[in-house]
Symmetry: C2
Subunit: 309 residues, 2 copies
């Protein structure tokens, strides 16, 4: 199989595919597979008819979708796969790190050795915490594994409500009554959902008002899952206890944004997943997906262009 890799190849991925007998070529040399890891403006205006499959190098395809790129090519029979699942462990670990940093009040430590303050404010995950995982797919399952030894009570929230293994219960995101309980009873809320019209501002002023005063929220999904203004107000007012944010809205978060100042907000610059792990793994994923495509099957991470993820 011939593949192109745009805007520029990840060496580790390309090496993996070449070792599996595939050939890297330019887009003009009739590749059958395109691996694409750029943004909408990097996407080629035209794809040669030879391209049957586009393997995206990341999981969240909403920008390509909004730019109309997926629909335009899908119409002509091109199939798309994203990279969901190949960084479950990186993101789940980054999530736990943020959650613990917020609970343990790392940012509140001062050079004045403010032990008494931390004695009062430190919370422990193991201490009978109720954890809700909103958007519990592959990353959520990995997070459930990481959190299991802490004995937390986990509520998984997904679209279908289909039971997620390891969770105490699974709630469908559309189940308004059950979601009331999730918002009002959770000590920790982790957002892992993709950004869709339904999930935009999922956590807004109304939801924040329902949450416990001791609740902490961790967002490693997409910034716009949260209404940033409402979150800032809730944190300022003590309506919730803290936040860990790997994604923000806007992103990057402006250097003068009040969230940077808060000692109960731990921020990382969208680094829960990092390219060197993606590079290491996308080659293997593309090879597997190509095999499935060639066998006439649905690819392991095939994008449902109509559903938008």
């Amino acid at each position: 199989m011939k593949f192109a890799f745009l805007p520029s190849p990840w060496k580790e991925s390309a090496d993996h595919l070449r070792a599996a007998g595939h050939e890297m070529v330019d887009l003009s040399e009739n590749p059958e597979l395109l691996i694409f890891r750029g943004g909408p403006s990097d996407f080629p205006a035209e794809l040669p008819d030879s391209v049957k499959v586009v393997q995206i190098g990341y999981a969240g395809v909403e920008q390509l979708l909004e730019a109309g790129i997926l629909a335009r090519h899908a119409e002509r029979g091109v199939r798309f796969a994203n990279a969901a699942g190949i960084y479950d462990d990186t993101v789940a670990e980054a999530t736990l790190a943020l959650l613990l940093a917020v609970l343990h009040r790392h940012k509140a430590v001062s050079r004045e050795w403010n032990q008494e303050q931390l004695f009062g404010e430190t919370e422990y995950l193991f201490d009978a915490k109720k954890l809700a995982i909103i958007g519990a797919g592959g990353i959520g399952k990995k997070l459930i594994e990481f959190a299991a030894p802490f004995g937390v009570e986990i509520t998984a929230v997904n679209r279908s409500g289909r039971h997620v293994s390891g969770a105490e219960r699974t709630v469908a995101m559309g189940d308004v009554e059950a979601m009331e309980v999730v918002w009002s009873e959770s000590d920790c809320v982790v957002l892992l959902a993709p950004l869709t019209p339904e999930t935009r501002h999922l956590v807004d002023a109304t939801v924040l008002a329902k949450m416990r005063n001791n609740a902490v929220i961790v967002n490693v999904g997409r910034g716009a899952l949260i209404d940033t203004k409402a979150l800032t107000t809730a944190l300022q007012d003590g309506a919730i206890a803290g936040a860990g944010l790997d994604v923000t809205d806007p992103e990057p978060l402006p250097a003068d944004h009040p969230l940077w100042e808060m000692d109960n907000v731990v921020i990382t610059p969208h680094t829960a997943n990092i390219p060197r792990f993606m590079a290491r793994r996308v080659g293997a994923l593309a090879a597997r997906n190509w095999e499935l495509f060639a066998a006439g099957e649905s690819m392991s991470t095939e994008v449902d262009v109509e559903a938008g993820y």
Copy 2:
């Protein structure tokens, strides 16, 4: 049984003992048990002969030992128990939190959204890390549980070399050859050992020079397990990659100490264990130890005054 609680009682502990039928009295009213949670200067100059057992409210008794308090009373038949084990989970969780915060470079995040820097510098615990736990007792075992889902290869180090369950291998601290391998091959080194003449400055310039450049060290044992000056130099020189410190030497760490400035050093002010968990649990421990003592048995956390822990 009558017990006194000095310098002042923890309400939750006292309530627990009273609920079990015991009576809280002043030291002058001939208590049989003294629960003590202060420092050497708080310890009563004289104990009434009625006191058979002193239950210490924390684990590290080296200060009482150095002040000669344990020996003086042990000589007269008083037995001492410490509070080892009742905060395995708090300390193990705090250890994991520090370790992840260092690996994930939380302190290096800047308002300039330095994503590229973090892409390069973030490390993951799950990523084939070798973790050494120096002083692997109860806390170490809990840490092994917490770390298990990350698939790390764990080397436990203890005095006896007796196998620690869940560890890939256990090394005796006195095994010079095996310790060479521990220092030179571990990616993460966690110090949980008590402070004794043997463990003071266990991590000094010589040991730091053996460690990998990517190694991170987390100290939640006692500050003086590390030669602070040597650690500071090693971090400045890039001889090791980072440190998480819940304990320091001197402690508190002076506000102008260079360690505070380093973005690869995460410090908490000796708050891995916090009083409200100790208070919740020391009552039950004292009751259990009193029962064992009354039955003529060795107490569950009895201090070996000669050994010093």
